[in-house]
């Protein structure tokens, strides 16, 4: 294919580097420096997509982030698919493969186009709210078709091959936008010592300088830009980030930048370990907003037909990419800058049919220049309709009275293939609005400028400052102001001189009246991507949608991937006119992040896949792995769940592990329990306040179980605390509760009782805890310790220090299984040594490693609760039948006490913890099964409780459960029922929750 629209000279492309690419399966050639859009235009591709609702053919209208139509699907392989890429922002690379996102069988001939044409009049805004209601059952079918028709590109079916990166940075000045304003600011700040970051979303710095006809110091402006870029690059305090979009402005000057690192190279990162893109999290002392202004298209009939562009895009394509997107141009404008497109077009050797200017007496310098060049200027007029379907064939022009909103003269039809329009400029205020500052209307500039935001200084076009000299000045001033705030003194920097030029006053040009009323005229598009028309807005206001936010939501104005960059202000102006209000009265809709879309992957960064969330390991993790453990996630910890041997099922493994503990000895890695070292003379008093039970009498080397409540009286944690010295305790918490409980203790200490002398320190990671439990535990331990294990010398609920396998250890005689138990604690670096030393006696004692599942069975047989499983935040100590653990007469009104005397917590029929024995011993009740007293009642049934824990007990030879049952404590021996999903009804007897050894004889041996 030849590049018919490519100029032989000029532009900032490298003609020596040809690039092959495909679009909709056809092969094309472009040059290094092209965007996909410029290359498509160079190759004369008119139709790049179909519109979303009416399936109308669409071409490229813009040259930047504002592009609403040229949204393509990129990717040469399945995994590399990227939906919704703006062709205008996609650098061309070798092998690029893109497709239109809509159009079937293809964009040029789309079947849906017919539906759009015929159904169009019925498909006004919100039409679906008014139909598809009968019969009600059909909606889900209608919806399928609606869904099919919607959406742009598609997500890939395969996992993303790329990785993404985050980078946290702090700086004094963040400059967003590297046009003349941004570059002047950066240059001014560069040698002050301040830390400066400057970013621009384009492939290269320069902004409008890369496209302008203006000169600086008598030379092309881009030369000055190049010079500045070089200077900045040499400065180590300045970080330059091209291809980097500032997407979100957040509180306290936190800005997210998205840097595209490889998207200009290929559809997947070319190098290993290379991040496809990187998010920079910037905390800036001062932000200089130099994002420039966006030209608006004019709203006229059929303004969406390919060949309709905005003027600045025409100039950009010609000057920057050496592409003239047509042969015969008509310009319609209300300001001088639209003339530049015509001048550039003519200079490129193509025909300018006319410039149509809605102003009666245009007189600026550019106007004069156009006149001199013999270009026809039709003043006081506007293009009110484009002709053509797949490409513009003519422009219909007439004199207009914009105030009266009527056409007032004869109609002239100008044959052309391109219409460039300029309705004026909208400062790109988005970022300044992200934290809620409303943009402020500027009458002079006919546009919204940024509202005041602390720490943000607008400069240049974004502040409606447009003449190049003033823009440069404004950039410099912004930098000076920012530097002063940050406490730096700037070096002297001279700005270049721009060719001065007199601009005529711009007119406010939004929608052009048609010969027919808006509702009957051919479609006048406001938001191209969402097919929102002026008639649609008119209908919305007619139906009572008067707030601009209602108009937005009823019509979808500004909802697309472009977020209405071209359409919003026009839509607001049209709404204002229809409601007889001013534009500032009508206001804007809310600008929100992102300025342009960012992939989920980029936002997630490295926190994906294996690094999604930390996995916490105990010191024995490797051993568990080698032993083939299955793991359970408990918080972030990986805990062995059970240790299958060979092909054992979980049930078999757990039965074996349980039996081993009851008959021989088992071992559990209990290192994940939270451990808090408590020192200070008031430690004991503190414990008495945060636990429900008493601590005053606990002797040295004695252990005690404690229950912790919130001040609402509900159980929040439990664990054993040991008195190590009069002023020294070691508290244990649940695995999941560890961090929270430490913070809880600090909270009460720091805020309520700072007078108590006590310090809390986490030692969770320091101590590894190995629990050996079972009748043979003593014999096993005696093999490797010097501690006197004799029953009378080391009693139940006591602690001893001594050597275990040559390692200094603290051993606690506490039991969560009901068996004789020693919890061996050693400094974690020695855990593996001790663990292995124990396993040297594996065969002698039948030492069996067990996991959390067996632990659960064993503790449930003893009626020991698990906070969070047998409780749910609505359970008091009394509900658990743990009155023995509540010190009602303690002097201090401990946390949770007062709440226990509220009317509801005193109720007799609260749900209470009980045991359940299924009538059929083979049945293991479902955890979470709901309990009813009367199984014959109709649904909705009166539920009286639920099963909290349920297991098969190899020791009891049957299933058993713990449950919370209304008034359960008084219902011992009664039968309850559990109607299950499959229709069966289980039956069980309420029994004591202690199923085994109620006197505790086994653990006391």
């Amino acid at each position: 294919m030849s590049q018919a629209n490519r100029l032989s000279k000029g532009g900032q492309i490298d003609r020596s580097k040809q690039i092959n690419f495909t679009f909709n399966g056809l092969r094309y050639i472009g040059y290094q420096g092209d965007t996909l859009a410029s290359a498509l235009l160079a190759n004369g591709v008119d139709i790049v997509n179909r519109s979303f609702k009416y399936s109308r053919p669409r071409g490229i209208v813009a040259s930047n982030a504002a592009e609403p139509n040229a949204i393509v699907q990129l990717g040469s392989t399945e995994a590399a698919q990227v939906p919704n890429v703006r062709a205008t922002q996609q650098a061309l690379y070798e092998g690029l493969s893109a497709r239109s996102t809509n159009g079937w069988p293809n964009v040029n001939n789309d079947a849906m186009g017919l539906v759009g044409k015929l159904g169009g009049p019925m498909m006004g805004p919100g039409f679906y709210y008014k139909t598809f209601m009968a019969p009600a059952s059909m909606w889900m079918t209608y919806e399928k078709f609606i869904r099919k028709a919607a959406g742009l590109g598609r997500a890939p079916n395969e996992k993303d091959p790329d990785i993404y990166d985050h980078y946290n940075r702090h700086c004094d000045l963040l400059i967003i936008g590297a046009g003349p304003a941004g570059l002047a600011a950066a240059l001014t700040a560069a040698n002050s010592g301040a830390r400066v970051i400057i970013c621009d979303e384009q492939e290269s710095f320069g902004g409008s300088l890369l496209e302008t006809a203006d000169q600086l110091n008598g030379k092309p402006a881009s030369e000055w830009a190049a010079q500045v870029i070089e200077q900045l690059a040499a400065n180590s305090d300045v970080l330059m980030l091209p291809r980097t979009t500032a997407n979100g402005y957040h509180d306290h000057n936190f800005v997210t930048l998205h840097e595209r690192r490889t998207e200009h190279l290929a559809d997947t990162a070319p190098k290993a370990h290379q991040a496809r893109s990187r998010m920079h999290h910037i905390r800036a002392n001062q932000v200089i907003l130099a994002t420039g202004a966006q030209e608006r298209p004019v709203v006229y009939a059929n303004n969406d037909v390919p060949g309709n562009l905005i003027c600045s895009a025409v100039s950009a394509y010609i000057r920057r990419y050496a592409v003239v997107p047509g042969q015969k141009l008509v310009v319609t404008t209300g300001n001088d800058s639209g003339y530049q497109a015509a001048l550039d077009w003519q200079e490129a050797g193509r025909e300018v049919v006319a410039i149509v200017d809605c102003r009666a007496n245009p007189d600026g310098d550019l106007v004069k220049q156009a006149r001199q060049k013999g270009i026809r200027i039709i003043a006081g007029s506007a293009v009110f309709e484009a002709k053509g379907t797949k490409r513009v064939t003519a422009a219909r022009v007439a004199a207009v009275d914009l105030d009266a909103f009527v056409i007032k003269g004869d109609v002239e039809e100008l044959a052309c293939d391109t219409i460039a329009s300029s309705g004026g400029f909208s400062p790109i205020v988005h970022l300044a609005a992200h934290t809620g500052a409303r943009p402020v209307w500027n009458d002079e500039a006919i546009g919204f400028v940024p509202g005041k935001v602390k720490g943000v200084i607008p400069a240049g076009g974004v502040d409606a400052i447009y003449s190049l000299n003033a823009v440069l000045q404004s950039g410099q001033q912004a930098a000076l102001q920012a530097l002063e705030t940050c406490g730096y003194s700037p070096a002297q920097v001279d700005l270049p001189d721009a060719t001065g030029r007199i601009e005529g006053k711009a007119a406010a040009l939004f929608q052009v009246p048609h010969l027919k009323p808006t509702s009957r005229a051919p479609k006048q598009f406001v938001d191209l991507q969402n097919d929102v028309t002026a008639a649609g807005i008119e209908l919305a206001t007619r139906e009572g949608f008067e707030s601009i936010e209602h108009v937005k939501r009823y019509t979808a104005l500004g909802f697309g991937t472009d977020q209405g960059k071209l359409g919003n202000i026009n839509g607001m102006a049209i709404t204002a006119r229809l409601l007889g209000r001013t534009i500032p009265e009508t206001g804007t809709t809310v600008f929100r992040p992102n300025y342009t879309g960012i992939t989920f992957g980029a936002i997630a960064g490295r926190h994906a896949g294996a690094l999604f969330d930390p996995e916490r390991y105990t010191a024995l993790h490797q051993w568990h792995l080698e032993r083939g453990a299955k793991f359970e996630d408990v918080g972030q910890w990986k805990r062995p769940w059970y240790f299958p041997i060979g092909n054992e099922t979980m049930h078999e493994a757990v039965a074996r592990e349980c039996t081993a503990v009851r008959e021989d000895v088992g071992i559990l890695d209990a290192s994940t329990l939270g451990k808090i070292d408590i020192q200070g003379k008031d430690a004991r008093e503190f414990l008495a306040r945060v636990y429900t039970n008493k601590w005053a009498q606990l002797g040295i080397n004695k252990c005690r179980y404690g229950l912790m409540c919130k001040d609402d009286g509900m159980v929040m944690d439990d664990g054993v605390t040991t008195c190590l010295g009069d002023n020294h305790f070691l508290m244990t918490t649940t695995t999941g509760g560890a961090a929270g409980i430490l913070e809880w203790l600090e909270l009460w200490h720091q805020t309520e009782w700072p007078e108590l002398e006590v310090y809390f320190n986490s030692v969770t990671d320091h101590w590894a805890t190995m629990t050996i439990t079972g009748p043979k535990a003593r014999d096993l331990l005696s093999e490797i310790t010097d501690i006197d294990l004799a029953k009378e010398n080391f009693k139940f609920m006591e602690c001893r220090e001594g050597m275990v396998a040559g390692v200094p250890a603290r051993v606690y005689r506490i039991s969560f299984t009901g068996e004789l138990t020693y919890e061996i604690n050693v400094q974690a670096n020695y855990a593996m040594h001790v663990w292995k030393a124990l396993f040297e006696h594996e065969d002698t004692y039948g030492l069996t490693p067990y996991g959390t599942e067996t632990m659960h069975v064993l503790r449930a047989e003893k009626g020991f609760i698990i906070v969070g499983q047998d409780t749910d935040g609505s359970v008091t100590p009394e509900d658990l039948g743990m009155q023995w653990c509540v010190g009602y007469d303690k002097p201090f009104s401990w946390i949770g006490k007062r709440a226990l005397s509220r009317p509801d917590t005193r109720r007799k029929d609260r749900k209470q913890l009980v045991g359940l024995l299924p009538s059929d011993p083979k049945v293991v009740l479902e955890e979470g099964a709901q309990i009813v007293f009367d199984p014959k009642q109709q649904v909705p049934m009166k539920m009286k409780g639920h099963v909290t824990s349920s297991y098969y007990s190899p020791t009891l030879g049957q299933g058993f459960a713990l449950a919370l049952v209304m008034g359960g404590a008084e219902r011992m021996g009664e039968t309850v029922f559990m109607p299950m999903a499959d229709g069966t009804v289980h039956e069980a007897k309420i029994v004591s929750p202690i199923f085994l050894d109620p006197k505790g004889e086994r653990q006391n041996v």
Binding site: T131, M133, L152, S547, E549, D633, G868, D904
Partner: protein
């Protein structure tokens, strides 16, 4: 009221859509109403609608400081389900679900209620216990629900990564087929149109700035457009409830927090159901327009700014990529925030107050959209009769004093 139908659309097309009527008037407020509803969100509008339709009270004003449905109603992720754990909550949300099921027809306004089913994933053994408990309770309460294993989840939602190799593998889920999503704006508009047609005055751009109370009885509200009288006032102001309560000299057990949501750019249909994960902490559905609608955690601080902090968005998308690895290359288009009024037990307040005639409907927190019809329905009844509707009765403010909380926290996880 102009009736809507496919036929009507065709007819209006012939006259270039020039004859559509207003959906609601823009009335000048009267001096006095029988009932004033403060807050023109979905709940307030539904309350007005049912007051007029079912309780015969039509001399009603809804006073809205901004635009109708512009609060949380405009900002939520539109998940509708009724599979709540506790009987009281289940009754309320199921009442709502039943109303959803005929709502488009009742309002003659298509609210696009799409019963595409809701999956609540379980990733830990405790998650699965909670799921079993909740689904069992739902079943015995007459609410549809099933417990699924990972394989069954995968069949319903093929794009979800159900492999055992993820950080927190999907162990199973609860599945409520009748759950789904609805077009949130349309819900507000449909109720507004219906209420307006029965004579309710919808007064927009008017803020309530004071409460006039005489001898412990409310007599009206001060607004930015002057005093408007009524001896029954229902405050349905979501995140702003505490502010209104303060005007009446009362305190509520509420905190207003930012809750954020985001949407992707529109893509072709990939996700046909609603997927929620409390553990991995994100949830997602795809709107009929094609955007993925995503939400997650609440920001921990109080905020009335309709925006939250960026790390919340980051964590949410990490969760989404973890659950749906193929969405990694999809782009996030827009994020926003609402102001949710959270209650200590994650259940709402539908209650009389110490001021006679002054009622509050609030505390819906992160999950009240689904309740819009039911809440409006029972609150209308409550306002009309002056005593709580039986379904509303357990949700009185008194529960915080007596201790009879309805704690949905541990039970239902994310309460959206």
């Amino acid at each position: 009221m102009q009736r809507y139908s496919g036929f009507g659309l065709a007819k209006h097309a012939l006259t270039h859509n020039e004859n559509w009527q207003r959906m609601w008037r823009n009335p000048v407020p009267k001096k006095k109403y029988d009932v004033i509803i403060v807050g023109g969100g979905g709940h307030g509008l539904a309350t007005a609608y049912y007051l007029a339709k079912e309780c015969g009270v039509t001399n009603v004003a809804v006073i809205e400081k901004g635009w109708l449905g512009g609060g949380n109603t405009a900002r939520n992720t539109t998940i509708v389900r009724s599979n709540y754990l506790w009987d009281e909550a289940a009754a309320l949300y199921e009442h709502s679900m039943k109303l959803w099921e005929g709502l488009s027809q009742d309002l003659n306004y298509n609210v696009m209620f799409s019963q595409r089913g809701v999956l609540n994933l379980g990733h830990t053994l405790q998650d699965m216990r909670d799921i079993q408990r909740r689904v069992n309770a739902n079943r015995l309460n007459g609410i549809d629900g099933e417990v699924l294993d990972a394989q069954q989840v995968k069949e319903i939602c093929p794009v979800l990564d159900c492999s055992p190799n993820t950080r927190y593998p999907v162990l199973g889920a609860s599945w409520q087929p009748r759950g789904g999503v609805a077009r949130h704006d349309a819900v507000a508009w449909g109720y507004a149109r219906g209420a307006d047609a029965m004579g309710v005055d919808l007064i927009q751009q008017t803020e309530v700035i004071g409460m006039r109370i005489e001898d412990g009885q409310i007599v009206g509200v001060e607004t930015t457009r002057g005093f408007i009288g009524a001896e029954t006032v229902g405050c349905v102001a979501a995140g702003n409830s505490s502010v209104l309560a303060k005007m009446a000299g009362i305190k509520l057990p509420l905190e207003s927090h930012p809750l954020q949501a985001l949407v992707s750019e529109p893509i072709k249909p990939v996700l046909d159901t609603v997927v929620m994960s409390n553990h991995v902490h994100g949830y997602c559905s795809q709107s009929d327009k094609g955007d993925l609608v995503i939400g997650a955690g609440i920001d921990g601080y109080n905020g009335y700014g309709q925006r939250g902090s960026y790390p919340t968005i980051e964590h949410t998308l990490q969760a989404i990529v973890e659950m749906f690895p193929t969405f990694s290359r999809v782009r996030m288009n827009r994020q926003w925030g609402g102001i949710v009024d959270t209650c200590p037990d994650a259940c709402p307040i539908l209650s009389a107050t110490s001021v006679k005639g002054l009622f509050f409907n609030c505390g819906w927190g992160t999950g009240g959209f689904k309740a819009t019809p039911g809440s409006g329905n029972v609150f209308a009844w409550t306002l009309a009769k002056g005593v709580a509707h039986p379904i509303a009765a357990p949700f009185s403010i008194d529960r915080f004093v007596s201790g009879k909380l309805i704690d949905e926290h541990g039970a239902a996880g994310v309460a959206h």
